[in-house]
Symmetry: C2
Subunit: 250 residues, 2 copies
């Protein structure tokens, strides 16, 4: 059972339009966190929920940026394609994260689901109206944006200065932490990204990612459960490797 489903079950039986928002598992992390019930009612009236299959696109790079999405369930990757066809994964997004918020007229990157999941779609002009009605919402966007900026800078640091194994270790730990922030229980985490996805995110080939993961497994740091189950047996070692505490530590 997906952890978000329990929240939804608990909330059943409430009335009103804000219902779907109160029941929304993203509320604790996402955009709507600071809103009261009247405001949620507004949001719910303006937004549409959609279910998406694995590998299905939420939007494509270059599409007119008409909507802003909240990922309410599942995991997605953000990709960017270069003129010559090379592709990079810019980041991964989880339940509660916002997708496609930009002041530009077109999306600068595409977003594709890695798992089955749902998104909450809101017209961009409506969002601007809601900003005027609920200033706290705009502040919320600013805070989220700065947090994302900090995460991007961490990633720049990793891409520029970390070895292959350091990057993979940092990725596995951050994946686990993202799931724990979303109330994940149990020792086994979801790893819906393929080796190729991870490689495109970390600036490595899928073979190098595979070798790093195998190496961690042989050292007893992790255990794999099929292709998409990950258990961290020695998280401290992974954190040590993945946070830049090289041998010549200061």
């Amino acid at each position: 059972m997906h952890p978000l489903d329990s929240t939804r079950a608990l909330m059943d039986g409430l009335g009103g339009e804000a219902d779907v928002c109160l029941k929304c598992g993203s509320r604790s992390i996402g955009l709507c966190a600071p809103l009261d019930i009247a405001a949620l009612d507004d949001m719910a009236g303006e937004s549409e929920r959609h279910t998406l299959d694995p590998r299905e696109a939420v939007f494509h790079q270059g599409d007119p940026a008409r909507y802003v999405y909240t990922l309410t369930e599942g995991m997605a990757r953000l990709t960017r394609v270069l003129p010559d066809g090379r592709q990079a994964v810019i980041g991964f997004r989880f339940a509660g994260d916002i997708l496609g918020f930009t002041p530009a007229t077109e999306y600068a990157f595409g977003a594709e689901m890695l798992t089955r999941g749902t998104v909450c779609r809101l017209d961009r002009r409506r969002l601007e109206q809601l900003f005027r009605r609920y200033p706290v919402l705009e502040r919320r966007f600013l805070d989220l944006c700065i947090k994302e900026l900090a995460a991007s800078q961490d990633h720049i640091l990793a891409l520029g200065r970390f070895s292959a194994e350091e990057r993979v270790a940092a990725f596995l730990v951050s994946l686990a932490e993202a799931q724990e922030r979303r109330k994940h229980v149990g020792p086994v985490f979801d790893l819906p990204a393929t080796r190729a996805d991870i490689g495109e995110f970390l600036g490595l080939t899928l073979e190098t990612v595979s070798r790093a993961i195998s190496s961690f497994r042989k050292r007893g740091w992790i255990r794999l459960h099929g292709h998409s189950g990950l258990e961290l047996l020695d998280r401290q070692s992974l954190i040590g490797l993945g946070s830049g505490e090289g041998s010549d530590a200061a």
Copy 2:
């Protein structure tokens, strides 16, 4: 003569506290762009200007984040140090850019000048008050933040997928464009960053940066004027190389 000085000269003779802001070369790009004279007067009353030497720090990584700075003159680099002493340059900043805006209690990175320059320092709590008085200011921050996020993603793409020469070409072009946006005139751009600075930004060694620059010079794409003068002779070729149009173009 620095291009910003001409603006300042033109504005001489105006009265009032906002004087220093109206005369400020950063106004067209920076934080204060959308403010009227009364609001500028507020800002001017709350902010302090400082002059800094080359290699002097604006603030250090880990310092309590008490102030927000606008870089009004000169060029700075943002650096981050890893526990083991490895260092990376997260980005470069120019006149009009904002430094050190974060919701966290400490700066996540340090900022050091590359040239002599000036900053405009504003207490963070004052800024929050100004947000309440001039909501347009908060929106300005959000837009700038999103723009910076887009730039970070470009950089992630470059670090993850670009070869050494592609990264250096992209850097040189973006440096020139940053100076042109700031009303730079003439064919020779400032290159105050050393090969080591550029290397730490691009995830390369200084030798590799030097080899790439030499290679461009030998191809007739650029000309160097001393250690800090850069002329782009064939910008199209640099743009082509630096924007991911590899040989197998789509």
